[in-house]
């Protein structure tokens, strides 16, 4: 696991490092990556929390199928995810014309990047949270309800605090997955500096002409990933 990271460190052109990572293209790619990944993590929370609650707290026919569908992006190659998104939200896709009528164009926009990232990152959040919900059990919820708390109060005051660590680690995983997203983005959103070219796409393109710059940027991505994980750990132990 560590060896490839050591290899990156060994190949990093330290003398040109700052010049390489502070070029306009690199900065824009990093900012875009951070911006889109944060947005998609937020979307994952908004859409994923209800989904996890439904999966963990209810039982109905076809629940197994629903769970498999939610997990699908996890096992699907991202390129396939990108093609699926393209045929759904693309200009000639299932919903493409609806969007066009509304005057919205998803293709080649930052929105498309966020959609691709949300698509691939959502399962991480749902799986973590569902696990946390099941582990926490329903004892406290039942007690709270018997003491007269309404469902909203129970969720807000009892369930949420119990599963917060699980939600936090799910969100971190989703963020990390969004940050590294490549395949679905390049097939669905395209690649344009400042609009859709996230850091992984920039790295892949740089490799074409300037391998050293690609290595330097890869190291930036590694550092950001380590920071995110470290930050999440600290947050968790504080909780």
């Amino acid at each position: 696991m560590l060896l490839p990271l050591v290899a990156i460190l060994a190949r990093t052109p330290w003398s040109r490092f700052f010049e390489l990572i502070t070029s306009e293209a690199s900065r824009e790619a990093l900012l875009l990556s951070l911006r889109t990944s944060s947005t998609s993590t937020l979307l994952c929370i908004l859409l994923g929390v209800p989904m996890a609650v439904v999966l963990a707290r209810t039982s109905f026919r076809g629940q197994g199928i629903l769970r498999s569908l939610v997990l699908l992006p996890l096992v699907l190659p991202p390129v396939v995810g990108g093609i699926a998104l393209l045929y759904t939200f693309g200009r000639r896709g299932l919903l493409g014309e609806t969007f066009e009528v509304l005057g919205m164009q998803v293709a080649f926009s930052t929105t498309a990047v966020v959609m691709a990232q949300t698509f691939v990152a959502m399962p991480f959040l749902v799986v973590s949270l569902e696990g946390a919900l099941r582990t926490a059990g329903q004892k406290y919820e039942v007690v709270a309800a018997s003491l007269g708390a309404g469902p909203t109060t129970v969720f807000r005051r009892v369930t949420l605090p119990l599963v917060l660590p699980g939600l936090a680690s799910g969100a971190v995983l989703a963020f990390a997955r969004s940050l590294g997203e490549f395949g679905a983005t390049i097939t669905f959103a395209g690649s344009l500096q400042g609009v859709t070219r996230t850091l992984p796409l920039e790295i892949y393109l740089r490799r074409e002409t300037d391998a050293q710059a690609a290595v330097a940027l890869s190291l930036v991505l590694v550092v950001v990933a380590v920071l995110v994980i470290g930050f999440a750990r600290q947050g968790r132990s504080a909780l």
Partner: protein, 256 residues
């Protein structure tokens, strides 16, 4: 558990070793010689046919291809990959190889390729000329300037005096073509050979400005090939009438 895991690994290793062992006598018994050709992806169709042609005139010779982006191929050869012949989609990548003394023969140009405008069938955005590509509201997709097809697009735009505002700069010409065939893009700049290979999925529009941005394909044997004579014969076949007519059928123009 650990023991079971180790056992599985051992079994896999033994099985794969056995596989290797049974392969080798087979190939030496048949006395086949393998010629390994590294060629740019745009040459896939034409070179596969030239390869079949070469095999039919050389008994016991098998031509194996590695098709990829020229810069990837150069990187592989520089890292010691066993290539006999290298055909590049641009001179810059061949130059990298000669600079490292990795070519066995003087590179010869054998074909050229020009850009065409590719539009989805029916041309929904009604693109007619190169200047139309600068229209506002047109979803234009080209290659990024870092890759050869993007450099060519930039050159064509400069010579036409048109400023292109693409909605996406793709990694490779196949990515551009995919955006056009799926209808996401209204127009894309790709090579004439790509339009021909895509068949009915796209329509090609030629434009005069492409002449200034033609890319030239050089071929050479790689230094110290396993089969010097065979490698040279393959290069000769590409350069003579047989090879040239196959390349022409695939949409390539003759080398300048």
């Amino acid at each position: 558990m650990k023991r079971l895991f180790a056992g599985t690994i051992a079994a896999v290793v033994i099985a794969s070793l056995a596989g290797c062992g049974s392969d080798e006598p087979e190939s030496s018994a048949a006395e086949t010689t393998t010629l390994t050709v590294y060629a740019a992806s745009s040459l896939t169709k034409a070179f596969e046919e030239i390869g079949r042609n070469f095999e039919s005139s050389h008994d016991g010779v098998e031509v194996r291809f590695n098709f990829a982006g020229s810069s990837d191929l150069v990187a592989q050869i520089q890292e010691g990959a066993p290539a006999d012949v290298f055909a590049s989609a641009d001179e810059a990548n061949m130059d990298k190889l000669t600079a490292d003394d990795l070519t066995g023969s003087e590179p010869h140009t054998f074909a050229s390729n020009t850009l065409e405008i590719a539009v989805p069938p029916g041309n929904p955005a009604r693109v007619k000329t190169f200047a139309d590509l600068a229209d506002k509201g047109l979803n234009l997709v080209i290659c990024a300037p870092e890759v050869p097809c993007g450099a060519a697009a930039q050159q064509a735009a400069d010579s036409a005096g048109v400023e292109l505002k693409p909605v996406s700069e793709e990694q490779s010409v196949t990515d551009v073509l995919a955006k056009v065939t799926s209808g996401e893009a209204d127009a894309g700049l790709v090579y004439a050979t790509d339009v021909m290979a895509a068949g009915n999925d796209v329509e090609g529009i030629e434009f005069p400005e492409s002449a200034s941005a033609a890319v030239v394909y050089p071929i050479a044997t790689v230094a110290e090939p396993e089969n010097v004579d065979l490698a040279q014969e393959f290069v000769d076949l590409v350069l003579d009438e047989t090879g040239q007519s196959i390349l022409k059928d695939a949409g390539f123009a003759p080398a300048p």
